[in-house]
């Protein structure tokens, strides 16, 4: 019952968020502000994690492929496909759900309990569209940047650590990452990442927006926002993979 209630209220909030805007110029600058806060601010963590995961996949798959029948360049294929298909869109989104999601939920939750949202409403501003829409749009607009960045650094990290540890040569790795490459996979990932960005921006925003009480509740809203985002991201990962790849 509670789930159904949340579900309905979430859709009403989304409809309000994408309702009529007050002033276009304000929204444009709000979107840039959020891209700067949420997007640019995440480049660092996405970069670091991607490099390391690329490196780990290289070394692990080289270790597992110690079979004369499997060519060494399979390592490159493994890194490329795991980065492009799953790691960059899904795992990075889970991490961003933690980083961006919690910041969105606690920011909006704090604004709720300190009556800042009421102050917006009293001015005649649609607080949902003013606060939530720019965040969602910023996350979706910036998701391809983070995705490509993560894919690139993952494959690059695999390359550097692969060569350094000697499990793969330059030539083999490059053959691997270009072998039977399907550009469609990138489109598929872009699509997934955009859906996930919508989830990790909107779900925590929902939990923040309906916070009641004090700072304790803001913390709870933030946790809930992250947990629900993660579950939804994984569920949609399954659904989209089934729909788009099968």
């Amino acid at each position: 019952m509670k789930l159904l209630f949340d579900f309905g209220r979430y859709f009403i909030l989304m409809r309000r968020s994408f309702g009529k805007a007050e002033k276009f110029s304000i929204y444009r600058s709000r979107i840039f502000e959020e891209i700067n806060n949420l997007g640019i601010g995440s480049l660092g963590i996405v970069g670091i994690i991607s490099v390391f995961i690329g490196a780990v996949i290289t070394i692990q798959s080289a270790f597992n492929f110690e079979n004369p029948l499997v060519p060494i360049y399979a390592v490159g294929v493994a890194v490329r496909d795991s980065m492009i298909l799953e790691f960059s869109p899904a795992i990075i989104s889970l991490i961003l759900a933690g980083k961006i999601g919690s910041s969105i939920a606690s920011e909006i939750g704090t604004m709720r309990i300190t009556e800042q949202i009421d102050a917006l409403e009293i001015m005649g501003i649609n607080s949902a569209s003013y606060l939530i829409r720019p965040k969602i749009i910023a996350c979706i607009l910036f998701s391809p940047v983070l995705l490509i960045f993560s894919m690139f650094l993952g494959i690059f990290g695999g390359y550097v650590f692969g060569i350094m540890s000697g499990v793969v040569t330059n030539y083999e790795y490059v053959i691997g990452i270009t072998y039977n490459f399907r550009p469609y996979n990138i489109i598929y990932s872009l699509l997934k990442a955009a859906v996930f960005a919508f989830i990790f921006a909107s779900v925590p925003a929902y939990h923040g927006y309906y916070t009641r009480g004090g700072s304790l509740e803001v913390g709870k809203a933030s946790t809930k926002g992250v947990v629900y985002s993660c579950i939804l991201i994984l569920a949609f990962d399954l659904i989209l993979t089934q729909l788009l790849l099968a």
């Binding site: 304000i26 704090t110 300190t114 009421d118 009293i122 001015m123 005649g124």
Partner: protein, 250 residues
């Protein structure tokens, strides 16, 4: 002029407002007083729709707020300047940006015109040289004053102030009281002030409502409140020694 008629409001099964009616007059400072927890803030929030009411009507110059469509409610809200009890400044914006904010949202003034207007409002609340500070860097009283400046930035037709001078020293308090009074008369607006401070009541209370147990217990002017025989109002007004001593003069 704002008319409220038979407003009742409960949270869960606690009745907070019980059948309150009152006429807030235009061009006058209307004051709501009452014990802490008596429902003053809730009443104000109900009047602007931040809390839904259970029954009753709120009329803004004849326009019945709760009968209006969402869009028209928003139009009324644009005519309201509201000071929240906690200030409700936007933490992510500095003092000047807070005051400029409603102007950016709803007017087409140039940047310098907006800044001039903001500075004018900030000067009226006695705030100088704090334009670039953030709310976290302000004292409680300064926050209140910035919030007042923001509330009057758009030249509202209805000004609601929830405890404008709690946390202010007596001198600044008077400045704020006088400011509210001046604005009210100058622009002929309908002002509602919630206060605990008997000084303010006597200073600016043209039209006073005393809320007790969620009811409109007593109403009258500042002259009348000092002479009332109503027991609860007397207890409220003459709670302090100072006021008790003063009473012997009447």
């Amino acid at each position: 002029m704002i008319d409220i008629k038979n407003i009742s409001k409960s949270f869960a099964d606690r009745l907070i407002l019980n059948n309150i009616s009152f006429n807030f007059e235009k061009g006058k400072t209307n004051v709501i007083i009452g014990e802490s927890g008596s429902g003053k803030t809730v009443l104000l929030r109900c009047m602007v729709g931040l809390n839904e009411i259970d029954t009753g009507d709120v009329l803004y110059d004849g326009r019945n707020f709760y009968d209006l469509k969402f869009k028209d409610k928003k139009e009324i809200r644009k005519e309201i300047g509201m000071l929240f009890q906690g200030g409700a400044l936007f933490d992510s914006k500095n003092v000047e940006e807070n005051v400029v904010f409603p102007l950016s949202m709803f007017t087409d003034l140039s940047e310098s015109e907006k800044r001039d207007r903001a500075n004018f409002c900030l000067q009226r609340v006695n705030l100088f040289n704090s334009n670039k500070l953030y709310p976290s860097e302000l004292s409680g009283g300064m926050k209140k004053r910035v919030a007042i400046a923001r509330a009057i930035a758009m030249q509202p037709k209805y000004l609601f102030c929830d405890e404008p001078n709690s946390g202010l020293d007596p001198k600044t308090s008077i400045v704020i009281d006088n400011l509210i009074n001046e604005i009210t008369e100058e622009y002929d607006i309908t002002t509602i002030v919630i206060t605990h401070d008997m000084n303010s009541v006597i200073e600016i209370g043209d039209n006073i409502m005393f809320i007790n147990k969620g009811e409109n217990w007593w109403q009258g002017s500042k002259e009348e409140i000092l002479k009332t025989e109503n027991k609860e109002v007397q207890d409220f007004v003459y709670a302090t020694k100072f006021m008790k001593n003063l009473r012997t003069k009447f």
